[in-house]
Amino acid sequence: MFKLLQIDASNSQTLTAALQSAFTGEPASLLIASGNVASMQALQGLSTPERYARNWIACSSCLGAASSAGVDQSSDRRLTLMAITDPGGSYGVASVAQTEGLIAQQAAATVQKAIARAGRPAELPALIWCMQAPGFEEQIITGIQQVVGDQVPILGGSAADDEVTASWCQFDGEQLARDLLVIAVLYPTVAISSYFSSGYSNQPFSGTVTAVNGRRVVEIDRKNALQVYNGWLQHYGLPAQQPGQVISDCTFYPLGRQLAARDIPFSLLSLPTHIHPDGSIETLSEIQPGDVVTLMSGSKEQLVRRASHVVKVASDNLRLRHDTEPAAALIVYCAGCMLVLRDQIQQVQQSLSEALPDIPYLVAFTFGEQGCFADGYNRHGNLMISALLFGRPQQENL
């Protein structure tokens, strides 16, 4: 039912040849694909993608993807695909080019279209998986929930490129573009389980956001946001941040919005990407005035260990709630974290392989992660890891 493929995507011809060899029978129900931007380009020349899968959803991953088959190098030209063949289930994909100001409406219409394509009108999907260009994820979640309510888990990741130059791309089975929102609705015949976590630590510095401009935090406690942030960093002897791109510098010291899941406090992370000349801090997720933000800290050790930790929690849930073992996994891992861990990313892959022994899994490194927290709410965050596990088909459990 689940098949992981690593396919040569040097160009459309090699990609087609590899797909033809891999898919000789009925097309898969859903193909989820990821790879670096250069590899994704090969999808553009694919003449009959429907021959291999009835539904496609793909997005570019920073420096390539990782999987149970290994970790891509930035020079690799290959795509990693997770093929789901589930004739008893239903799957549908739809997409739209994102238009600022209309995102929620677009997301609502697109999820309706995906449900219609799955042939399950009005029926709540078990899961909604979305891949999109970064920038409007909160509005996308809002739009989807306007249609289906708030009881279905929404997971996925925002497309990433290698150098944060907005060259990321998405593929919906028909077109490859930089600004797509691609939504897949899944009605699988197997159980699913998911978990969404950061694993960063709270530090004793916090303030209330008092002014924002889009995704820019302008003021904290009515003071210039950069000054407040640099003041917090100073306590750790860290250099003050200057206007410009700061994504790598801030990966270990993001801002955390304080939330609570079933009485246990937890943080939803926002990664600073740019410091603007006016001292406002731009992040990869929305922070609202009134939100209490805390300085968070992470470490390489944490980032290496937490992927397998998240997968383990999701596996335990699968066993506890559905009495089944995992059969496949889709993981979205923050690209910012991956970049600071580049030398140790093999360790992350190994820990995942230990947590998912002989189980196919695909990891995309993204610029924004969507998942469902322990409190049951769908959220978009940064520096997060989102794991979706599929259970075994019923006869395999016997």
């Binding site: 009005a122 029926e123 249609v147 309510g149 960063y200 470490s299």
Partner: protein
């Protein structure tokens, strides 16, 4: 990761898992306590209300209903619902409806054409639904939970409902079992009545044969007793004439006659003869009636005077009725002629009279029989001042084997057979009125002139 943060995340995870386990424990408790409560429910409504309470403990809903597929699989009906505003109604859905095929978590009912066409207006105002098909050995059902909120039910709710399915199916099976038991008890009672009826019929047939034989055997001696009494009466008249004549011609015999009380003997002898003749006539009538009611040829149709038949029947019934009620006959001056079977119509009249008598329990009743001509028909009204017929029994009194009498005391066939006989004669038998002051039955039979 620092130790406090590791612990915090671990606590979050354990809390999450603990809540899962608690949910399962809660579910198990509900299932066991709920099942006990449901199994102890005697009433249909209580049973469903307890079931719905148990479901509501774990899945929040605004309304709930159970739809049952009809036996012909072409329609369905609401078996139970809460709140009561969901009126039970016949639904135009068949066995192919998705409700009976698979479990559904529907986030927006307005998007579903078949739902809008087949389940409105029953579910108007509700936006989302969680449904589950249930199949028992007897029938197919669909459990439907409704919410006024869009996408109100989670996959977890659907899983809980799935885990409840056996429990709910058990409840429905319990209900079916009770219905089957009721059916079985009803059939047993019916079978008992049929057996009693057959026994009674056999007994009646034997009594009828015996009565016919006895009537035949008695008829001959009674014939010559009657004949001899008439002859004796004639002879006595001659003796009396001779004694009168002798006493007037020989006055000296007067003293002798007086000593012998001849005047008294003469008068008493006439009275004795008259009384004996009256007794013989009554015995003849009784034998004739017995022969009429045990006549083997029940298909014989003949011209009958309903007045005479009524009088004969009253005479037979009188032995039973006279200690309990007064019989009042209001008959036309002319013969009420009709074409019919004397035995069968006599049976109808006797049955109506016996029923009227049994409705009177105070020993001071009155049964009034009024026969009138009415638009080419004879209309007989039999009115009693008894206890009347219970409201719930009125609809069933003409059904075969329906009886309000204890098992063994009534066949439940009397009124149904009487109506059948009336209809075979082109007439009708109806209950005109009933109340605690008594009942009135109307028997209509075509008058001979109009046939």
């Amino acid at each position: 990761m620092t130790t406090p943060e590791l612990w915090q995340e671990k606590i979050l995870q354990l809390t999450y898992e603990k809540q899962q386990l608690e949910q399962f424990r809660h579910l198990n408790e509900l299932l066991s306590s709920g099942l006990a409560a449901i199994l102890s429910s005697e009433q249909h409504d209580t049973l469903f209300s307890k079931l719905f309470d148990v479901v509501n403990d774990v899945i929040a809903y605004d309304a709930i209903l159970i739809v049952q597929l009809a036996e012909d699989q072409r329609k369905a009906q609401v078996l139970a619902s809460a709140p009561a505003t969901l009126e039970p109604a016949a639904l135009n859905i068949d066995a192919n409806c998705p409700l009976f095929q698979q479990d559904l978590n529907l986030f927006n009912l307005a998007m579903l054409d078949w739902w809008q066409q087949q389940l409105l207006p029953l579910t108007a105002g509700y936006q989302s639904a969680l449904t589950y098909p249930l199949h028992t050995p007897q029938s197919s059902y669909a459990l439907i939970l409704l919410s006024r909120r869009l996408g109100a039910f989670s996959a977890n709710s659907a899983a809980i409902l799935r885990s409840f399915s056996t429990f709910i199916a058990s409840t429905l099976s319990q209900l079916e079992k009770r219905k089957l038991q009721e059916e079985r008890d009803k059939l047993r009672a019916q079978q008992h009545r049929i057996e009693q009826s057959l026994l009674r019929q056999e007994k009646m047939a034997a009594i009828g044969q015996l009565a016919a034989g006895v009537a035949h055997e008695l008829n001959n001696p009674l014939g010559f007793i009657y004949c001899n009494l008439n002859t004796l009466k004639h002879y006595l008249a001659q003796y009396d004439s001779f004694i009168g004549h002798s006493l007037s011609e020989h006055p000296d015999l007067a003293a002798k006659a007086s000593a012998l009380q001849l005047d008294y003997i003469r008068q008493e002898s006439q009275d004795l003869i008259e009384e004996s003749l009256a007794g013989a006539r009554r015995a003849r009538d009784i034998i004739n009636n017995l022969r009429t009611f045990s006549h083997p040829d029940e298909k014989t149709m003949q011209d009958i005077d309903l007045c005479s038949l009524l009088k004969d029947t009253v005479r037979i019934a009188q032995t039973q009725v006279k200690h309990n009620a007064r019989l009042v006959l209001d008959l036309p001056d002319i013969p009420a002629m009709l074409h019919g079977n004397t035995t069968q119509l006599g049976q109808v009249l006797l049955n109506l009279l016996v029923n009227a008598n049994q409705a009177i329990t105070n020993g001071k009743g009155e049964i009034r029989l009024i026969l009138r001509s009415d638009s080419g028909q004879w209309l007989l009204q039999i009115t009693d001042n008894g206890n009347g017929i219970a409201e719930q029994a009125v609809a069933h009194i003409f059904e075969p084997f329906f009886t309000t009498k204890p098992v063994g005391q009534g066949t439940g066939l009397g009124l149904s057979l009487s109506r059948a006989i009336a209809e075979q004669h082109g007439g009708s038998l109806t209950l005109a009125s009933t109340s605690s002051a008594g009942s009135c039955f109307e028997l209509k039979l075509p008058a001979l002139e109009t046939r």
